[in-house]
Symmetry: C2
Subunit: 197 residues, 2 copies
DNA sequence: TTGTTCATTGAATTATCGTTCAATTTATAT
DNA sequence: ATATAAATTGAACGATAATTCAATGAACAA
């Protein structure tokens, strides 16, 4: 009863993993079912035994991404700069140690920004804005004196751009060295007299 | 003689511009000739009167990108940190004021990193590595005492990731505020006692 | 062992894509 | 005005995509 079910679940995971790799490398349209199927070593027909459509396979990945450690950017009671230090450090550590996580990060970015994803995926991601809550935390840090002056939204863009770009680079080339969270945080820091080098 | 030729050249530019917009939004495979043609308001057949193939259209864009102000990262005699300040400031200013430039920046990144581009494009971009010369300049700055300690390659990745991510965000949403070059440079800076806030 | 269920394949099906082309309209030159 | 060249269209073509499906093989239950 479970002997075959376990095998089926394992196969499903393999498909998801191969799909993740291909989708971030070649995009949604650029990745064919045949690509994914042969990466796992099965016929294209069989893949539809595991997922009803290409879109649902992609959607499953995005759902996994939403549930992952991505969802942790919420207004906080923490000291703002400490929050960014912890966030950058945690995400970059994940990216360095879990290639799967880095790839998931890239996929989420692709799903959110690319116009080359099915409409159903876009719907699932409506209201998944990370910039607004980030800008709010930055505002607190500015009132606080720990975060530099400047448009909070622009600072949020700079912070997340750096992290996203690093994730993308590291996801593609897992052998490259990973920047440290502290560096990214210094992009926001107002004064560095207290900076630990 | 030139009356019609000018018109033809203008049309060609329109196609390139529409192609640039669509390619960065939907990727190479996700963008169809029909997409581009109807964005310019012509039949799909006519587009082949201006470009012999989809690949050559994309290749023309990438060639324009290589010739653009992208090609300015060379080992320098300048003080390293000053070089990064100037570079970041210049690129971000371009990105803010010339949406075309921001989009070109995104296209170059896509052409370089995505596996969803024709082989001919990949060939044209071999040896177009920006990390190695950047890391070299960073090494000088570290010897210099102006750039923080840490793996030079990782620092280069952080620097360019931030700029690339900003370009991507701004290319998609031209109304968002643009981060300042100084912020990105502070990611590299060792001490900020001399920092101008 | 035998009958049933699931896994798997490869060939059909339908749609869409890049590209070509013959035909038609529009502009230019003489 | 008329002949020539260029611009433009829409249909046709071949390739390839996603998806379906009938048929086969292997595992499981009885």
């Amino acid at each position: 009863m479970t002997a075959r079910d376990d095998q089926k679940e394992k196969r499903r995971q393999e498909i998801l993993f191969a799909g993740l790799n291909l989708f971030i490398q070649k995009g949604y349209s650029g990745t064919t079912i045949k690509d994914i199927a042969s990466a796992v070593g099965m016929s294209t027909g069989l893949l539809f035994h595991y997922f009803p459509s290409k879109e649902s396979l992609y959607l499953t990945l995005v759902t996994l991404g939403i549930e992952g450690p991505m969802s942790s950017v919420q207004p906080t009671r923490e000291e703002p700069l400490a929050f960014f230090e912890a966030t950058a450090e945690r995400i970059l550590t994940y990216i360095k140690e879990e290639p799967f996580f880095a790839k998931m990060f890239v996929l989420m970015h692709q799903a959110y920004y690319s116009a080359d994803v099915p409409a159903g995926v876009k719907e699932m991601l409506t209201g998944f804005d990370v910039y607004t809550p980030t800008a709010e935390i930055i505002r607190q840090g500015q009132a606080n004196g720990t975060i530099r002056d400047g448009n909070p939204l622009a600072l949020a863009i700079a912070f997340w751009s750096a992290i996203q770009g690093v994730a993308e680079t590291l996801a593609m080339h897992t052998n490259l060295p990973c920047p440290e969270g502290r560096w990214v945080t210094d992009l926001l820091r107002k004064e560095t007299w207290g900076k630990t080098i």
